[in-house]
Symmetry: C2
Subunit: 542 residues, 2 copies
């Protein structure tokens, strides 16, 4: 078949459209692009011709500031160039070798990519880090150029550079189109939530996820680390939480594990924001600290029914415990932001409990459990503010009228997304969007299009309101995923969210995105990320 034509990046594929569902063209359903980056850069100027990169001589050279992050990145991306070259060779097996420089559009060799970082490295990625860069590969010189003010922009530019490479038909030599790319993200918070409570994920799967995030320019790992089902986080102050609350003593994250994950993420310009969800979603805490949870009562017998509900805000031990736990978390995670949860608090258990009812009566709460929740969250917010962290909360906290300090971020995950975004920003709060990017909502096959259709800035709003949108997150809740299926379920579906969060085009072509995603999924496969087929029949060479 002709799916591996030489120098196909310079060809345009044409296909006959067939309407009968039982008559199909042979070959892939969607033809992959060749050398197109994902997500789409802010601005791309294509020049005439293509360059050839010979992997045996090519180098990434540091010509400006440097640091450990940059040196590690140069090693990683050099290895990726080598990988792309070896796949290019394999792909051509049994086909005659072309001689790229004989093509009329051959514009020269690319001997190096000169990386010029202007400002000294920052140590840790942060919300307002500068990720912009300019990448220039053309025929005027044998050196390509990548320039950025900040190390984070250099990381994103190196990623883009490797996306431009494709087989040339000339053995391991790689082709790349002459072009200038000026790039910067649309939004500064582009996250992925992983839930390690419903199923434990080994460290290696988390590191692999961080790799994949970097391939998609995502920059926040939202670690939903504990929940009702298990408490895998090994607290140094309260080791009994995981000793009794993990699924199994071996299924925990030690302090060293956490540090390794944070460091691995840092090298990739990814922030690690932990979520310790309270006052609901805490049942696993009760395996070691049952006294912190609310005993639920049976309405008919008036006796405890043996189950435990959310944290008990009337329990005197609660706040000292919370203060100590979050103090540890604040030290363990260098990230300034912390996610406090606050979603889905089951009021029925509180309502069944005589001590809580008595407390509410005394505090004139008139059966408004939202008020009780608000009081708890208020106390929690005071605690975390004292720890010099900034809080992110799920939308219920805002909906229930908790008084929030102005820097608090509200995370929209359910309901009418447009009106929620409008309400939160109208009240002047920063907002994160996840409602349209729930990866656990499955449809048959390659259902990335629904995620791609979501524009995080499309809601009734003023310019000022839109400026309060920090970004969003794709959410991979863990109920039905573990090590066996989590990667293909995330990728390339989360790539759709990644592009909508990075790219400035508000009405992108879905047809073109499908072709680029076909390429991008194979790119991730080559790099060890088992991204599933995005569109339909097709193939990758690895």
């Amino acid at each position: 078949m002709m799916f591996w034509t030489l120098l196909g990046i310079l060809c345009v594929s044409t296909s006959v459209v067939i309407s009968n569902p039982y008559r199909v063209n042979p070959g892939p359903l969607v033809t992959a692009t060749r050398g197109e980056p994902w997500p789409q850069p802010y601005q791309t100027i294509k020049h005439d011709g293509f360059l050839i990169l010979r992997p045996s001589v090519f180098q990434i050279l540091i010509t400006g500031e440097t640091c450990d992050i940059l040196e590690d990145a140069v090693q990683r991306y050099t290895a990726i160039v080598t990988l792309e070259a070896s796949v290019a060779s394999r792909e051509l097996r049994s086909a005659p070798r072309a001689h790229a420089r004989q093509y009329s559009s051959f514009a020269g060799n690319l001997a190096s990519l000169n990386v010029r970082l202007i400002n000294p490295c920052e140590d840790m990625p942060h919300l307002n880090m500068n990720e912009s860069y300019v990448l220039d590969v053309r025929n005027t010189t044998e050196a390509g150029s990548l320039m950025a003010k900040s190390i984070w922009g250099i990381l994103r530019g190196l990623e883009t550079f490797t996306h431009l490479l494709s087989r040339s038909g000339d053995g391991p030599n790689l082709a790349l189109k002459c072009q200038t790319i000026i790039d910067k993200p649309l939004l500064q918070h582009r996250g992925l939530l992983l839930d390690t409570s419903r199923h434990y994920l080994p460290i290696s799967d988390i590191l692999r996820t961080l790799d994949a995030m970097s391939y998609n320019k995502m920059n926040v790992f939202h670690w939903h680390i504990t929940d009702d089902q298990s408490f895998p986080y090994q607290s140094t102050r309260f080791p009994e939480l995981s000793a009794k609350g993990a699924f199994h003593p071996t299924l925990t994250y030690t302090r060293e594990n956490v540090q390794k994950i944070i460091e691995y993420a840092r090298y990739r310009g990814i922030r690690v924001i932990p979520e310790f969800d309270t006052p609901g979603h805490t049942r696993s805490w009760g395996e070691s600290h049952p006294d912190l949870l609310t005993p639920c009562y049976n309405d008919s017998t008036g006796a405890p029914d043996g189950t435990l509900g959310p944290l008990d805000p009337t329990e005197s031990k609660l706040y000292p415990f919370i203060r100590e736990l979050f103090a540890e978390i604040g030290v363990t995670f260098p990230e300034r932001y912390i996610h406090l949860g606050g979603d889905e608090v089951p009021f029925d258990c509180w309502a069944s409990n005589p001590r809580i009812r008595q407390y509410m009566h005394e505090h004139h709460m008139n059966d408004s459990y939202e008020q009780l929740e608000a009081e708890y969250i208020q106390n929690l917010l005071n605690i975390t503010r004292d720890l010099n962290t900034t809080s992110i909360v799920w939308q219920e906290v805002f909906d229930n009228g908790v008084h929030l300090s102005p820097e608090t971020v509200v995370h929209v995950w359910t309901g009418n997304q447009k009106s929620k975004l409008a309400a939160v920003t109208k009240a002047g709060f920063h907002v994160l969007l996840s409602a349209c990017w729930y990866l656990d909502h499955l449809q048959n096959g390659g259902d990335w299009r629904k995620f791609y259709a979501c524009d995080p800035l499309a809601f009734p709003s003023t310019v000022q309101q839109r400026e309060l949108v920090l970004g969003g997150e794709a959410c991979m809740w863990g109920e039905v995923v573990d090590s066996t299926n989590v990667h293909p379920r995330i990728w390339p579906r989360a790539s759709a969210a990644a592009e909508r969060l990075w790219s400035h085009e508000r009405n992108p072509s879905v047809t073109y995105a499908a072709q680029r995603l076909e390429e991008h999924a194979c790119r991730m496969n080559r790099r060890g990320i088992p991204a599933q087929p995005p569109n339909g029949p097709g193939f990758c060479i690895q």
Copy 2:
């Protein structure tokens, strides 16, 4: 937590039912059984007490007939016992070691499993192979006993034996409940369809699938090897078919690959039935043999529209080609049955083609394209019968009134399953069921229950009609699966079909099945099959 209590196989877990969806118990959603086989045996008699298997001294001994298949199986299952023992050790890490023989229910040691094959081995698995066996492990002797008339029964019994093992709490020593199992399958054809045309699957993934099938007592690998999109089968007679029709020259199955797969399957008592689907689903053939396909015409211009439709039954080269190709297939695949496809033939292209219309006119077919299809299939059936093979066809062939020889098997895949099964068997034909086991039909999460709800014998029928049900197949069509996601998409969802095809219970308990499947998915995980979580939050130790 208490999810890994010592000798939990002897405990009954109790749990409080919680109705509020936001209040959940900690730990797994469904508690796994310990040492319960999947699929459920025909008859199990449990005796008092449990035995301890010490992996350092335990042996599987051959005490009757033997052959290469049995010797290979003893090696495989000995390795599995060792694996289970090492996982049992790991699972107990940091827990105090119990001393199993001090338990009151300790009934003795199991030093060996004596395997007595009564009849000499058959060489190849076949439709009517005898898979029954009797497995006896109890306290009267230190030797367990597995007895079967046929090697195929021995294979199934060894599989069951390893399912009975679970951790004892006593280091690597394994516990198994004293019991006698008398087992035989409900139906003789228990298959899995893999489609290697929409996406190519590496040999290693096919071998892994055969492993997984053996863990589920499935015995037919239905290899949907070619289709419109690609032709990966390397024909020795017509090498151009894959040279031009594969996605890529490296994405093919050589004769050696095919032989390896057949041999690997044979060792596991699995038949390999290839499907070369015609006259539709053949577009990839046209990359090397466009003259065999029907040129489609544009209705308004009356000229060819550039697309190709199904095989062209009026083409003089067609039947000689088909005869040679199927002669090769008949030699390559030792299996007596061959699947001829025959589904989803697009009539619109035939109808557009002047030569075909002319032919039909001359043969008084009155615009009945079903008649044209019937003529083609009739000729194909004559060819394959001459090759001494027996044919399986998709249901359209029966629906369209093709005259079928009595041994032909009709494969029901769509429409009202009960009435289809009734109609086919009423006409006296053998039938296979797949309509309720389409693994590409996804729902959120662990959706095995819909597959489990399907009883292949539940249709309006006489005893004679039900005897015509050979079995069924779970179908993993390849449009949106490849190496990255195919295994967790199949397993343990196909396990639901496997149990309904093997087990005699017509109204099995779904609650109990969920608990056993939780165990079985972890069992597959331990053995290298990435079966996804079947039910919800939970964990496996590996």
